[in-house]
């Protein structure tokens, strides 16, 4: 991360709620720590508790399809907006609860609980 970017994030820390996803590790850094992009390459991925979609959008470049699910409608609206802005086409976001996943049995290869459980 560049010095400017780190400075910006530091500044964000002053003004936004402390649980902001902006203050978390960068998605690809996190993915690298787990084992690298091979973990999701060509896979059907679910980002459970996706929030504003930062992680789902980051792994979309490697995955076959990415589903993002979160109970917060505002966060999902923000995620959809970010997906439109970035032109990512293999990501779908939906409002829903983890206790009733709207997917058929065996439909996914990777489920990610990133700062969710």
């Amino acid at each position: 991360m560049s010095g400017d970017a780190e400075g910006l994030i530091g500044d964000v820390g002053r003004h936004v709620p402390a649980m902001s996803a902006t203050l978390r590790p960068r998605p690809l850094d996190e993915l690298q720590a787990w084992g690298g992009v091979e973990l999701v390459r060509g896979k059907r991925v679910l980002d459970l508790g996706c929030g504003d979609g930062r992680f789902a959008l980051a792994v979309a470049a490697f995955a076959s399809t990415v589903e993002g699910l979160d109970p917060d409608p505002e966060a999902i609206a923000a995620a959809k907006k970010a997906a439109r802005r970035s032109g990512v086409r293999n990501v779908r976001f939906a409002v829903g609860a983890a206790q009733r996943l709207p997917y058929p049995d065996g439909a996914l290869d990777v489920v990610i609980l990133s700062w969710t459980l």
Partner: protein, 157 residues
Amino acid sequence: MVDALREVHRVLAARGILVDARPDSRVLAYAEGRRARGFQRFGEVKTSRFAIAIDRASDLAIGRVVRERLFKRKRRGRFWHRVPFDSLGDLRQYLSEHLRFVHRAKWVVEAATRRRYTNGQFVIRRAVRYEILVPSPRSRRALVPSVVAAAHAKHSE
């Protein structure tokens, strides 16, 4: 949490994986000052009781689905993440708002040192743990709740 993990087991393909990643409350976080050659430790930051209780509940949920043989633990690890701040004041402000941490760091440097570097760049370095789990083949034990539910439904007819 256990219900959610059971649902995850249902939607995962046979060779799928589940990644559980979250801050590691079992180790301290550190307040560090940025120096020309790395970082100087200024203080330690404990996790709040509230966050420890939530993490404990999450650990128990994972343990339960492993005991139920829905998942098998495959690999786990930890990495460190730095949250940057423009000054010591910014770091303190962050701590005062943050739900995961106690609101004050335990300083390990003298007050004079903190005053000297108060406008320097700081970070909070915290641990993030992750665990990779794979679904086990649906065991008889895992099927028991649905069998019991079916039996209840039949009995009530």
